[in-house]
Symmetry: C2
Subunit: 232 residues, 2 copies
């Protein structure tokens, strides 16, 4: 295969990036093999060829694509004979809107629940960078940002309601089989699952059962990833 | 045609219900004729046969369906030979998640911007009911709830970002033609457009141009509806 997938990694080659998981599930959905290149938080010269500093990135022959949604759209077009990620042209736009909902309205509510736990999963050479960049963004220490997380949980769980309303009645957002619309939020849930022992949803939440189904999807690629979380 | 569409109306038969507009656009999308039955806020015995108190309701022969999303799903299945509302089975679930996002995260941010204006569009016989029920829900007068709306506008506009990110690059959420995913948020924008002169989005906002395109859709059915708003 000609595809190289540049994914973020923490210590011990742990792969927990929420956006990386979107791409990883999309590649699995399409049944595409790829060469893996791991990129640490501070090793961004490795993807300088992409003209930007964020993973995931894929290189497919002469084509370079960054941004997880753009990667999914590229894979859908370039590998149109493989199982569809969006179901239809109409579904692609809908998935993009759901991508915006997760990025803007869900993902920011997870960071205050787990970010200090994520820090523990970052490799030694990247810890200073991770702490400094995040503390600058949040305007406080990682530990202060994560403090009182039990009180912040309700707002996060409420923000999942649009997806919960769907997956309480059907296996996946896309219906009987997962689609890219599922992988978007799944990436965030998998990020938290791999880096933290903090329970984001109750076991009787339809979201929990939906995550569990996605962990089994595509040969269990997401369940096979080792849990990086430190037990406190 | 065997379809009867029960839609909410205010004074002078004004039809501004956001959920009613979702159904109205869905019927137009499918090219279905229907008999119209207008239901005022206090005339709910007219839809008692549906076993609940909310419009829109459709009756199609022996079949009665309430809840705007359920109506769309019914129309898609019953009129599968007409243009698809969802594009695909996958798109149906995605649209349902977007329905949840608009209902839970957008619609509640519009009410504080226009509810006193909506009140002015309610028929005389329903004004007491409307005021009492809404003031009980909001815990304050309609006027107090709408006060300071300029300061509440930014949060509403931010909540549109998931859709804005799509329609800045393509005509509709569903791509080159509108789908039910478009009609969901459009219903809310049309509700505000018909009942209030308050400007929800700037004229250079991609959302504004997208609303404008939907006003032209299906023979301009949405643009033809008379503006009910009182000029203050």
């Amino acid at each position: 295969m000609a595809i190289t997938f540049y994914d973020l990694c923490g210590k011990d080659r742990a792969r927990f990036s929420p956006y990386g998981w979107r791409t990883r599930m999309a590649l699995a959905h399409k049944g595409l093999d790829y060469a893996l290149e791991l990129v640490t938080f501070t090793d961004k010269e490795k993807i300088a060829f992409s003209g930007q500093k964020l993973v995931p990135v894929i290189r497919d022959g002469e084509t370079v694509v960054s941004d997880s949604f753009a990667i999914a759209a590229y894979l859908e077009d370039a590998y149109g004979d493989r199982p569809s990620l969006f179901g239809s042209a109409e579904g692609r736009g809908m998935a993009k809107a759901l991508n915006g909902y997760v990025d803007r309205m869900v993902q920011p509510l997870i960071a205050p629940l787990i970010v200090a736990d994520v820090f523990a999963c970052v490799g030694e050479t990247c810890k200073d960078y991770f702490r400094t960049s995040r503390e600058q963004r949040f305007g406080m220490t990682l530990e202060a940002f994560q403090a009182g997380r039990d009180e912040k949980l309700a707002a996060f769980r409420t923000a999942l309601e649009p997806v919960r309303l769907v997956v309480k009645d059907q296996p996946f957002i896309g219906g009987v089989a997962p689609t890219y619309a599922d992988y978007i939020l799944f990436g965030s849930m998998q990020w938290a699952r791999l880096t933290s022992t903090f329970r984001l949803v109750e076991s009787d939440d339809p979201i929990h059962a939906w995550v569990d189904r996605l962990l089994d999807a595509h040969g269990g690629v997401a369940r096979e990833e080792p849990i990086a979380a430190q037990v406190a």
